[in-house]
C-alpha cells in the first residue's frame, strides 16, 4: 500500500549524550555554585557519547519499516527522537502527518483510576482528542475484553487485563505515522497473536509504521522493509529477511554479562549477573553439540534472603519462536537463598536441536514475585556435529528438531 510520497525523512540524525566522569561532579545547586565561584574557568571532565550518529533513511507513506539491532545499538534513541521525547543533537527529520508513538504499553495508566477513566487519560496522553476517544471507545473496550471491569480501578486488574486494555487504547490511535517500540512482547500467546493481527490491519490500512522489535518473526512477517542499526549507525536498509540475517550475524556473546543490561524487568532484589553455557566438563563454550548434555549457569546477586526462588531459562530461535521452557517450578526445584552472590545451575540432558543459533531468556522469580527477567540474555550456537557418526546431517529444510532415532526392519516370521 506504499505510495511514492514520503512520510518520514531522516537526514544525518545524531544524538549525543554527555556522561560526566568527574567524581566531584556537583549534584546539588550549592556545590555547583560554590565550584563555579572557586574555579570560574574550569571545564568539566565529560565523555561525549553518540547514541545515534549519521543516520539517514526515508520511509514512504504506507510502509511498515522494522528497526532492529542489538541492545544499545541506538534503536530506542532513534525512536525517541522521532517521537519528539528527546531532541537530536544534529540532523533533520521531516514528518508528514500526525505522529503517534508507543514507546511503552500503558504510559500514564493510573492505578487508582478505573478502566474507563484510564482509557480517556491514556488516549489523551497518546495524542487523541476526547472526541476521537469517545468515537473509538466501544471498539477499544471490545478489543481489550475487559467490559465487565470498566468501572473497577485498574489496580485490581490482573497484569494480563491491564496490558490488554493498554494495548487496546494504543491500537486505536489514528495518527498517520505510528512509532512502536517492543510492545508486541506483552501478554499471553493469544493476545500477542491478536496484537500482531491488529498491527497487520494498521499496516494494510495505508498508515506508516516504524517498529522496533526483538521479535524477528514479527519483523519478517509485518515489515516491508527493515533497517539494521549497529553502534548507533545504520548498517543496512532493505529487505526484512536479509536484515534479520545481518542482525543474527552480529552475535558474539559467549558469556552473557548482564550487569550492563537495562532492558530488564522485575523488582531487582535478585539479579542474574552472568549467564554462561558450559559443556559437560565445566568449560564455558559458545556452542554445544546437538543431543549432548550441557549446563546453563546463572550467577546471581541477591540483596535480600529469599525463599522458594525458581529460575527459568527459555530457549528461543533468533526469530523469537519459543522452543523450550526450562522452569524450575515445574519440577518443584526451588531454592532458599541468602543475601549475597551465588549461582544456579541447570543441567540439560540434551537439546534435540538442529545446528543453528538460539537465544536464552533468563527469569528469576518466586512466590508471585518477579525478581529479574532478561530477554535474549545470551546467544549460543548448536554446532554442526557428526551426531550419527556417518558424516551426514539434516539441513534446515528438514525441520527444527534433530531427534535421536534408530531404524530397523521388522522381518515377518515365516514358517
Amino acid at each position: 500500500m506504499s505510495s511514492d510520497r514520503l512520510a518520514v525523512s531522516i537526514r544525518g540524525v545524531g544524538k549525543q549524550y554527555t556522561i560526566r566522569h568527574n567524581r566531584r561532579a556537583p549534584t546539588t545547586l550549592g556545590e555547583a555554585v560554590a565550584r563555579r565561584l572557586r574555579h570560574p574557568f574550569e571545564r568539566q571532565e565529560r565523555e561525549q557519547f553518540w547514541a545515534v550518529r549519521d543516520v539517514s533513511f526515508d520511509v514512504r507513506q504506507g510502509e511498515v519499516v522494522g528497526v532492529i539491532g542489538r541492545n544499545g545499538a541506538g534503536k530506542s534513541t532513534l525512536l525517541k527522537i522521532l517521537s519528539r521525547v528527546t531532541e537530536m543533537t544534529e540532523g533533520e527529520v521531516v514528518l508528514e502527518g500526525r505522529v503517534g508513538s508507543l514507546l511503552e504499553v500503558g504510559t500514564g495508566f493510573n492505578q487508582e483510576l478505573t478502566g474507563r477513566e484510564n482509557v480517556f487519560l491514556n488516549g489523551a496522553i497518546l495524542g487523541m482528542t476526547r472526541a476521537e476517544i469517545r468515537d473509538q471507545f466501544d471498539a477499544i473496550v471490545e478489543f481489550s475484553g475487559v467490559e465487565r471491569f470498566l468501572d473497577t480501578p485498574v489496580k485490581h486488574y490482573s497484569s494480563g487485563m491491564y496490558v490488554r486494555l493498554a494495548f487496546a487504547v494504543a491500537a486505536h490511535l489514528r495518527s498517520e505515522i505510528l512509532i512502536v517500540d517492543e510492545v508486541l512482547a506483552v501478554g499471553d500467546q493469544d493476545f500477542q497473536r491478536k496484537c500482531l493481527g491488529k498491527m497487520r490491519d494498521v499496516a494494510t490500512s495505508g498508515r506508516t509504521v516504524l517498529l522496533v522489535s526483538h521479535n524477528m518473526a514479527a519483523i519478517s512477517s509485518l515489515c516491508s522493509r527493515a533497517v539494521v542499526l549497529h553502534d548507533g549507525r545504520l548498517v543496512f536498509a532493505g529487505d526484512p529477511g536479509e536484515a534479520v540475517a545481518r542482525y543474527s550475524a552480529q552475535r558474539t556473546v559467549l558469556v552473557g554479562d548482564l550487569r550492563g543490561r537495562h532492558d530488564r524487568h522485575g523488582s531487582g532484589e535478585i539479579r542474574a549477573v552472568t549467564l554462561s553455557v558450559q559443556n559437560g566438563r565445566g568449560e564455558t563454550v559458545g556452542a554445544i553439540r546437538p543431543l549432548e548434555p550441557f549446563d546453563i549457569v546463572v550467577a546471581y546477586e541477591a540483596k535480600t534472603a529469599a525463599r522458594h526462588v525458581a529460575v527459568s531459562i527459555d530457549v528461543e530461535q533468533v526469530d523469537g519462536t519459543r522452543i523450550a521452557t526450562l522452569f524450575g517450578g515445574f519440577r518443584n526445584e526451588t531454592f532458599s537463598i541468602e543475601a549475597g552472590s551465588g549461582a544456579f545451575c541447570c543441567r540439560v540432558d540434551g537439546l534435540p536441536l538442529r545446528p543453528d543459533t538460539y537465544s536464552l531468556n533468563v527469569f528469576v522469580g518466586g512466590q508471585g514475585a518477579i525478581y529479574d527477567f532478561v530477554e535474549r540474555a545470551v546467544l549460543f550456537d548448536v554446532a554442526p556435529a557428526d551426531v550419527f557418526g556417518t558424516g551426514r546431517l539434516p539441513d534446515r529444510s528438514q525441520g527444527p528438531l534433530l531427534a535421536g532415532y534408530h531404524w530397523t526392519i521388522l522381518t515377518l516370521a515365516t514358517d
Binding site: T86, E87, M88, E92, G97
Partner: protein
C-alpha cells in the same frame, strides 16, 4: 502538515497553537488530579471545604486570640483571614504543583511527547477548581457576616490573575531547576511557609511599622496582591498605587521569565530525569 524536527538552541518561543491542540490532555490531567486527591477518603470532597476553614481557624486563633492583634480595618478578623488564606492557598498550591510537575511525572516525560507546559498548567487548573469551591464558601461567610462587596469587585479577576502569574512563574523556574538540581524540592517547603508569615495573610498590613512597611515590607509582591484581593471583595484599605504597580511588574516579569526558562530547559528534561 509537515513537522520538521531540528536541534534547537537558546531561547525558544512558546508554541501556543500546539498548546491549544493538546487542550484535551490539559483537561484530562486536571481531571486526574482532582479525582485522585479524594479517592479512598472518607469525607471526600468535604475536604475542599474543611481544609481552608480549619486553616483560617488556626491562623485566626494564633494571630487574634493568642497574639491579640487588633482587628483589621473594615472587616471581621475571621473573614479577613479566610479571604487572605484563599489567595495564599491558590498561590502556594500552584507554586508547589508547578515546581514538582516535571520530576513527579518523569515516567511520562521520558516516554511520550506533549508540550511540557501542559503539566504545570493542568496543576493550575486543578488548583483553580479548589479555589472556586473555597470562594463559594467565602461568599457564604460574607452573607453570614453581612458584608457586601462594593464596585471594586470588578477588579477581582486582576488580583487572582496576578497571584497565578507570580506562582506559575516561580513554579516554572523551580521546575526547570529541579530537573537538574533536586535541592529546589527541599528548599521550597522551607521558603514557602516563611513567605506565609512574611505576607499579610492573617494580619493587616497596618500592623507593620510605616517606615519598615514602605521601605521594605511592601516589596513583597504578594502583600499588595493579598491586600488588593481583600479590597475588591471586603472593602479593606488598598496599599499605595506605586506598590500595586510594582507587584504587577514583578508578576509579569517573573511569569514571562519563568515560561522562557522552562521552554529553554524543556528539551533536556527527558535526558536528565
Amino acid at each position: 502538515m509537515a513537522t520538521v524536527l531540528r536541534p534547537t538552541r537558546g531561547w525558544v518561543a512558546i508554541d501556543l497553537a500546539e498548546l491549544f491542540r493538546f487542550r484535551d490532555l490539559l483537561l484530562e490531567f486536571a481531571n486526574r488530579d482532582v479525582k485522585l486527591r479524594y479517592r479512598q477518603t472518607l469525607l471526600g470532597i468535604v475536604w475542599v471545604v474543611l481544609q481552608p476553614l480549619c486553616g483560617a481557624g488556626l491562623l485566626y486563633f494564633a494571630f487574634s486570640v493568642v497574639a491579640g492583634l487588633e482587628p483589621p480595618q473594615g472587616a471581621p478578623f475571621f473573614l479577613f483571614t479566610f479571604a487572605g488564606l484563599l489567595v495564599w492557598n491558590l498561590f502556594s498550591a500552584t507554586l508547589s504543583k508547578a515546581s514538582g510537575s516535571m520530576v513527579g511525572n518523569s515516567y511520562l516525560v521520558s516516554k511520550v511527547y506533549f508540550p511540557r507546559l501542559i503539566l504545570p498548567l493542568s496543576g493550575t487548573i486543578a488548583t483553580l477548581i479548589d479555589f472556586s469551591v473555597s470562594f463559594g464558601l467565602l461568599v457564604m461567610l460574607m452573607a453570614i457576616y453581612a458584608v457586601a462587596p462594593g464596585i471594586a469587585i470588578v477588579t477581582l479577576p486582576l488580583w487572582i490573575a496576578l497571584a497565578l502569574c507570580l506562582a506559575l512563574g516561580l513554579g516554572l523556574i523551580a521546575a526547570a531547576l529541579t530537573v537538574e538540581y533536586r535541592d529546589v524540592q527541599h528548599m521550597l517547603p522551607v521558603v514557602v511557609p516563611f513567605l506565609l508569615y512574611a505576607s499579610p495573610v492573617a494580619y493587616d498590613v497596618a500592623q507593620i511599622a510605616p517606615s519598615y512597611r514602605n521601605a521594605f515590607y511592601l516589596l513583597n509582591p504578594l502583600a499588595s496582591i493579598l491586600a488588593g484581593f481583600r479590597w475588591s471583595i471586603l472593602g479593606t484599605p488598598l496599599p499605595p498605587p506605586i506598590f500595586i504597580l510594582w507587584s504587577v511588574a514583578v508578576a509579569a516579569v517573573v511569569f514571562v521569565f519563568g515560561a522562557a526558562a522552562f521552554r529553554r530547559t524543556e528539551r533536556k528534561f527527558a535526558d536528565v530525569i
